[in-house]
Symmetry: C2
Subunit: 202 residues, 2 copies
């Protein structure tokens, strides 16, 4: 298909498609004439993916580029790729943070290996600092409640990766990390509403 058809099929304006091409986020089509290139379904898939990361996930373009680079890269270890993907997702932390006392205490309460080098550790520290600043409660018991809810879910989420090749598993790990998160938050918000409305007297 031509670039105009690619734009129509994806719902993304031609100027934006051209921007993705210039930025190297989308591969150029097969040149069939001096002013004409041909695009296939793989280009359409790529645009939909960029769209999901920018519009739905709300990532800045620089972070989308990082995530695409992980997917395209030679990396075939999903665990390493997941770590890179996590670093490309908010919350983005100041480079010069203090220690990770809060995250470390939580890891200890959960009996986890504490790894300050993993991006999610710093993100947990930052999130716990936010609770503290707002005067919201956090302790080992509450941490365990979240862990007990999320660990089985995380296990189910990783299960399909076992049957995948290295590269497929990388893509699944990276996109799954980025794109199931908004789903989780929306479902938790709906659960709150569901419970609150069913409460007597509310």
């Amino acid at each position: 298909m031509r670039i105009s058809e690619l734009s129509a099929a994806s719902g993304v304006p031609i100027a934006t498609v051209k921007f993705y091409l210039r930025e190297g986020m989308l591969e150029r089509g097969n040149v069939t004439a001096p002013t004409r290139a041909d695009y296939g379904p793989e280009h359409l898939d790529r645009i939909r993916l960029i769209s999901a990361l920018t519009n739905v996930r709300g990532l800045p373009i620089a972070k989308v580029r990082e995530i695409l680079a992980i997917i395209d890269g030679p990396q075939d270890d999903p665990v390493v790729a997941m770590g890179h993907a996590v670093a490309a997702l908010p919350p983005y932390l100041a480079a010069s943070g203090p220690g990770f006392d809060r995250a470390s205490a939580t890891a200890q309460a959960l009996g986890l290996t504490f790894d300050p080098g993993y991006p999610a550790t710093g993100q947990l520290e930052s999130a716990l600092e936010g609770l503290e600043q707002a005067g919201l409660e956090w302790n080992g018991d509450i941490a365990r409640r979240y862990w007990n809810a999320l660990l089985p879910l995380a296990r189910d989420e990783l299960a399909p990766a076992v049957a995948m090749t290295g590269q497929q598993a990388v893509v699944y790990a990276v996109l799954g990390t980025a794109l199931y998160e908004p789903v989780i938050l929306a479902i938790r918000r709906l659960a709150h509403q569901h419970l609150a409305e069913g409460r007597p007297g509310s």
Copy 2:
């Protein structure tokens, strides 16, 4: 304390404190002399809260202002307040969306009342659209897996609100929605890492 002490105690630059004052996000201190105002611990708490919402949660200043207005407002129904807070959190949706076919199908699979007027419904629709665009799986069984993990958690989260006054419950509902979310995402990411590293061969 003076504004310089307030800045030192909160770690927020004086210029930023003055910005919060000008914007009406922080109440002015007691004027004790023509060029001097006195600030108390309630001002420090407020700055910490703004800091948690802007820096940790990463909300734009306009959305922080919305959340502060809900907390300060006359609203004493936590369910209504929670709805407003959810609308002030990402993902922010285009005003003119299509129908909510995906969210509606998920609500049906879970046996929930489908309420298109609730902000989280549109956010779920958008999140599910993101999965679809990226070619990630979603169906009734997967929806139930997330629901089963998140519903008991949501129930535990709401439990403390029962013992609170209307205004306290509003603050708890609003801040809890905004500030436990980054914690949930960080813990899920740590759970993935924990599971992936324990996997044989990885």
